[in-house]
Every structure is written in structure tokens, then in C-alpha cells.
Symmetry: C2
Subunit: 160 residues, 2 copies
DNA sequence: GGCAGGTCGTTAGTTGGACTAACGCAACGG
DNA sequence: CCGTTGCGTTAGTCCAACTAACGACCTGCC
């Protein structure tokens, strides 16, 4: 009857084994995201950076200078948290914060040459980290994974 | 040259568009996990439950009664947090907490009939929520997604 | 001109989840 | 008997996501 051995009432391993019901997709996602976060955060910390640094620098390079509120919208970082991120970036001379002459409420944030260099460094750091993150998957599988993830995200994004 | 229209220096949409570099897998994972968490937490809240409730009840049903430390190991919930979860569960009469006669350090946690019923309810709630979560994917794609996720997790789990 | 209503940067604070430290107690192994 | 280990519990840290409110400022409209 039982496919594995004859010990019908064996405790299986009531100590450490994870229950089957805890294999739901939501939980896998959460665990994987935590794992990924750890990996990325540690990797970036070694390069004296945080993921928000990357997000802001990338946004500045791709779309040019902008106000803090603009950067907020582009990166998804709350404008209340943006203050601290920009402090950290300007301490390191990666961006410049200057008052906007056309609108005295605004600061104009500009990426510096050092910022560009740092962004390039972080790009390679992140490439390596993602290679580690996706290590067990073949290139085609990685693509597939990203495609599926993207479709899920797009679907839920436009609900909002 | 430029494939789309002739506006070479158009601001594209420097206000709200997300930079390409922020399409990295780690970020997609993080966003998707956040989305999933919101969905699941809200759904469970409507059923007067939290995900740890489900984890504990599932563990009890699949592997039988156990001490708090055992449940901790099975579910991945820290034993410091387990206290509160079990308080919530026993308030609702979903589990029973009794001293272990064989080891006076331990409490033996047992699922009640009400607990079993609640677990069944939560199972269907979670089924519906996951259907919503994975809505844009076909069944075969959902399988594939879960398989890829699982392989990633297994790989990183056994590194630890 | 003046005022209503919105936006900007900033400070402060909340919530929630993951995780650590340390405690008193009890069991176990030599 | 004594050191070590495991137990349940309390307290508290850390970080990310998110909200509230403020004074300064801009914009549109009467």
C-alpha cells in the first residue's frame, strides 16, 4: 500500500520537516525574495552602497536630472525616505543637490562623474550577484522565469 | 535612426517611467513578493487569521502535536514569536496548550476540532487567493513558475 | 491682488516582519 | 553533582514600507 517502506506509523520527521501545505507559491516567493534581498544587500554593502543608491543613480542616468519628488516617482522610493538616500549619495559626491532657480520649492538632483563611475561599478557587482542568484537555472530558464515574473507583476500593477 | 518618431531629445517621460536598470530579477522578486504578501495578508485578515496561524495549524495536522520549539523548527517561525501566535490561536480555541508530563519544560500543542475546521476554511481561502495571484498565467505556466522557484530555493537552502 | 488648492522637501512617527539576547527553569550526560 | 543543553518567555533591535503633518512655495482663478 504505502509506497515507501512498511513503517505506516513512523513519525516521518515531526521535528524538522516542513509541512506540504507550506509549499504554496506565496510562501516560495516570500522565501526567495528574502534570500535575494540578503544576497543583494550584502553584495552592495561590500561596495559601500544600498539598493536605493543604485535606483537613484540609474534613474538619473537614464532620464537626467530631476527634483526629489520626480526621483521618488521614478524609483518608487517614498519622498520621505528619499531625503536620507540623497544625503548618503551627496556625502559620497555621487550626486549634486542644488536649489532650482525656476521653482524655489525644488531641489535639482544631478549625477556627478563619480556617480556615473559608481553606477558602472554597481552594474557589474549586480551582474555577478544575479549570476549567483540564478545559478541553478540555464540561460533559457532564467529568461522564462523573468518573463513569467514580469507578466505577473504587470497584471497586478495595472490593477492599481 | 531613432525607431520611434523624430523627437530625438524628447524627455520620454522623465516623470514617472521606471528606468530600465530597475528591471533586475532581484527587484522583480521583491515587488512580486510584496504584492503577494499584501494579497495574502488581506485575504487572511478577512478570515480572522494570519499566515502564521495557517503554518502552525498545517504543521499540527500533518505531523501531529508538538512542543513550541518543535513547531518553531517545522514552520520557520522563531520561537520568540511563536508565543504570540499560539496565544492568538488558543484564544480562538484552535489549539490547546498543555504542559508535557514527561518533560516539564515543554508545552504540548494540540490542534482542536475547531482548528481542523479553520484549517480547511483557510485552505480554500488560500486557493482562491493564489488563483488571483497567478491569474495571468496558464496552468502549465504556473507549474513551470513554481518549479523554477523551487529549484532556486533548494539551491540556496542547501548552501546554508 | 488675493486666495484656494496643490506640490515640494523635510521631520517625525507608525507598522510589521525578521532576528537577537538573556532570563529562569528543567532535563540530560558524564 | 555539575556543566551543558533545550525550553518558554520577555524584551528589544534592525530594517523596510508607509503615513501624517508642516512650512514654504507655486499656480489658476475670481
Amino acid at each position: 500500500m504505502s509506497s515507501r517502506a512498511d513503517a505506516a506509523d513512523m513519525p516521518v520527521d515531526g521535528e524538522t520537516r516542513t509541512p506540504d501545505r507550506l509549499r504554496r507559491t506565496s510562501r516560495l516567493l516570500s522565501l526567495m525574495s528574502a534570500q535575494s534581498d540578503r544576497l543583494i544587500n550584502e553584495g552592495l554593502a561590500r561596495a559601500d552602497a544600498r539598493k536605493w543608491h543604485y535606483a537613484v543613480l540609474a534613474s538619473l542616468l537614464e532620464y537626467g536630472p530631476g527634483s526629489q519628488a520626480t526621483l521618488s516617482r521614478r524609483t518608487g522610493i517614498y519622498r520621505s525616505d528619499m531625503v536620507g538616500v540623497l544625503n548618503e549619495l551627496s556625502e559620497r559626491d555621487l550626486v549634486e543637490r542644488a536649489p532650482d532657480p525656476d521653482d524655489r520649492r525644488r531641489n535639482v538632483i544631478t549625477i556627478t562623474e563619480q556617480g556615473r563611475r559608481q553606477l558602472r561599478r554597481l552594474d557589474t557587482v549586480l551582474d555577478e550577484l544575479h549570476d549567483e542568484l540564478l545559478a541553478p537555472l540555464l540561460p533559457a530558464e532564467r529568461d522564462q522565469f523573468v518573463r513569467l515574473l514580469t507578466r505577473l507583476l504587470d497584471h497586478h500593477a495595472q490593477q492599481a
